[in-house]
Symmetry: C2
DNA sequence: TTACTTGCAAATGATTTGCACGTAT
DNA sequence: ATACGTGCAAATCATTTGCAAGTAA
């Protein structure tokens, strides 16, 4: 692990600890492990997939899925993680401090592809100011069928 | 109700009936009423809100919520309706053949302004196809502070 | 010590499913 | 007549919550 990554993780951890202290909450191994696992794995996790990975990685901690849910909610309220939801397949979480990007989501298998597009962001600013709004953030998710799912549909 | 609306509805209905026939499914009052209610009300429905409106509008049919779910799934698979996920507020359905609109949302007072922007939609198509996706829908919400709220903040 | 946190299991809420009866074709 | 569709209630799935025991501060 490089120094840069450690610095990033350390600052995340400090933010998390500060937040806990401010709210009279305690810093626990379980909470740390949730944050660390999100940080070490560049994926979009469902609560269950995160729970399974944590169980596998830290079997001695015997973390319960309820704690994963509780910690994800805490982290999301504090804007340390964000979630995206796609239909009935559920909700997925990722760290919020990644460089800004939007999501392309397969309605069929749940695959998520990240993208970034400056032209669209410029247009969004134009639309907002045309309507008298001062833009603070946005949510853009494109839903479709990915290459693989298009193929498997044809095979049926 | 104008002729134009009737023609639109009739063509929708024909599409639905064709689809049912094609799959050896039957055209029933309940299925018709789900489509008609979506058509007559320019809203985003949760399965439950749609169910409640149908019960209120056609009490004699005694439609069950399971049928609303079943019909929405059927209509969605057939691309007659699409669903959009509004964050934690759940999943909402609307007719797929309406012109797509997006939302500009004031974080301060909740004002919602609808807009439509062809340039962005074109870019979205480009992004999707560049990633091998066949685009079916999108969710774009711009969050900000509206004109009025900007003024009243200054007054404070 | 004393709150807060945990894992567990039970509870909840949304959606789906099995079944016997009803209905469109 | 024969599937298929329906409402109902029970089942399921993801998520939340109550509780007694454990742990950070």
């Amino acid at each position: 692990m490089s120094n840069i990554e450690n610095i990033e993780y350390d600052s995340l951890l400090i933010r998390f600890k500060d937040l806990l202290k401010h709210n009279n909450l305690k810093f626990t191994k379980q909470r740390e492990v949730v944050l660390k696992t999100l940080y070490n794995n560049d994926e979009h996790f469902t609560p269950e997939s995160l729970y399974l990975l944590i169980k596998e990685t830290y079997p001695e901690l015997n973390v319960g899925i309820a704690t994963v849910y509780r910690t994800l909610n805490l982290l999301e309220e504090s804007s340390i993680v964000t979630s995206i939801s796609f239909g009935s397949a559920g909700k997925k979480y990722e760290l919020a401090n990644k460089p800004h990007h939007d999501h392309l989501i397969c309605k069929c298998c749940g695959l998520i592809v990240e993208f970034e597009n400056g032209d669209i962001e410029t247009k969004q600013e134009e639309i907002a100011s045309k309507n008298g709004f001062k833009l603070t953030s946005h949510l853009m998710q494109l839903y479709g069928i990915c290459e693989n799912c298009q193929k498997s549909r044809k095979n049926k």
